[in-house]
């Protein structure tokens, strides 16, 4: 009984260890991104944070109306640095949308342009 429980716990531990995404030591090929990672502590930290933030960013996308499967695929296509740039900021970062009601900016810009042309 007890040994069964121990075995299950042990297996769970092994599974969680294997699932740790930022495990850097593994047999076999060393990944291409490891070259940048060894480039500096700051870079390494950003990569690590980016890796850890992936589930967060995916769930933030979901809370903004993206369906779960799409959210995961979208995060998978990003680099660690891109994920890190989004983490916790999805509500505030620029989101390019329409250009209606752009009259004022254009007007100001045209004034500046006129100044330029005649200077």
């Amino acid at each position: 009984m007890k040994s069964n429980l121990m075995r299950i716990v042990g297996r769970l531990l092994i599974l969680t260890m294997l699932a740790l995404p930022f495990q850097t030591v593994q047999a076999g090929m060393i990944g291409t991104d490891q070259i940048a990672a060894s480039g500096g502590a700051a870079m390494q930290r950003a990569n690590l944070l980016g890796t850890m933030s992936r589930p967060d960013v995916a769930s933030q996308l979901q809370s903004l109306g993206v369906d779960p499967a799409s959210a995961k695929a979208r995060v998978d296509a990003m680099t660690d640095a891109e994920v890190q740039s989004l983490a916790g900021k999805l509500g505030a970062l620029p989101a390019g949308a329409d250009s209606s009601g752009w009259g004022w900016a254009i007007l100001i810009a045209l004034v500046i342009w006129a100044w330029y042309s005649y200077r």
Binding site: A27, V66, T79, A105
Partner: protein, 328 residues
């Protein structure tokens, strides 16, 4: 729509901004000034990328529309609906920069973020690549972000040509472009096929862009793009590792070996190259050879010594089990 509710605020802000603008134009638009004062070398007078198909945007879908135009000119046809699923964020009614960069990778293209320079935008356009720029049409404190595609310019007239929103071939003074563009810290990107390096690309940034494609799962196009990078920059370590890794992942051990063999002589201090070559040789069932290579890697020490030791143990174990198999 925020643009309606805040009309009065914006009117006031507009007047203020105009006053500020007139006070310090050359400070406000440094790149336009520089471009006027100094003509970039070998930049053609005027360029029009007529081959870029125009995609009018639906409401708030300038991101997907801009991507579709850029990707079509890289010979990659994607449905607008698919791009919407890949970049549009309903809760923001718009598309984020990181996702604009990520989406082309899912279709085998290299996304490259340009240096924040007007001159680089014109150079890309002059070599046939349309450029997506992020503009702010709002007036402080309101932001109205919008993606447009630069598809041409006329240097003597100081104009750029944009596909933007519902307007095809819209002509805009360069000063106006800079005014609208600089709020995004001059954010601009291109999407190119893996056989072609953007005209303004720098070695490290381009190879990073290819590594991003590899990581996003585009192994086949990444393999082509790493090769393209190595044709231009034969000494690039990251492109070498990347090419071998992509080939390895695709099951082409012969190419992985062919890339790594000469590379370990070119970069004798790279434990990564030696480790990966040893792994490839071991997978090719040439463990004694692999052991020699991994011992060279072990002698270097450094950041990757744990991974190297692991690979070494793996090779030794394979040799032992092979020896046992022979005995039996």
């Amino acid at each position: 729509m925020t643009s309606c509710r805040l009309r009065d605020v914006r009117r006031l802000a507009g007047v203020l901004a105009a006053a500020v603008a007139l006070g310090g134009c050359s400070m406000m638009l440094p790149q336009t000034t520089a471009l006027q004062d100094h003509r970039p070398a070998q930049l053609p007078d005027r360029v029009a990328l007529d081959g870029v198909p125009f995609v009018p945007q639906d409401e708030n879908l300038c991101g997907p529309a801009a991507l579709k135009m850029a990707m079509a000119s890289a010979d990659t046809e994607v449905m607008l609906g698919d791009l919407k699923r890949e970049v549009f964020v309903p809760g923001r009614q718009g598309s984020l920069q990181a996702e604009m960069l990520a989406a082309p990778r899912r279709h085998g293209l290299v996304s490259y973020q340009l240096a924040p320079r007007l001159e680089d935008v014109l150079r890309e356009v002059s070599t046939g690549t349309p450029v997506i720029v992020l503009q702010d049409y709002g007036v402080w404190p309101v932001k109205v972000w919008h993606y447009a595609v630069v598809v041409g310019y006329d240097y003597p007239k100081h104009e750029v040509v944009l596909n933007s929103g519902l307007k095809q071939g819209m002509r805009m003074p360069i000063a106006v472009l800079e005014y609208l563009w600089k709020q995004s810290d001059y954010w601009a990107m291109v999407a190119v096929p893996p056989q072609r390096i953007p005209a303004t690309a720098h070695e490290a940034a381009y190879v990073d862009a290819v590594a991003a494609l590899e990581k996003a799962g585009g192994l086949k196009p990444a393999r082509i793009a790493y090769q393209t990078a190595l044709d231009r920059w034969p000494d690039d370590l990251k492109a070498t590792v990347g090419l071998a890794n992509a080939a390895y992942e695709l099951g082409d051990l012969a190419q992985a070996e062919a890339v790594l063999r000469p590379a370990v002589e070119r970069h004798p201090d790279s434990a990564i190259l030696l480790n990966n070559l040893a792994q490839v040789l071991s997978d090719l069932k040439r463990d004694p050879e692999a052991l020699k290579v991994i011992d060279r890697a072990a002698a270097l020490g450094g950041d990757f010594s744990d991974a190297v030791q692991q690979t070494r143990r793996h090779i030794v174990a394979r040799m032992q089990s092979a020896a046992t198999a022979v005995k039996n």
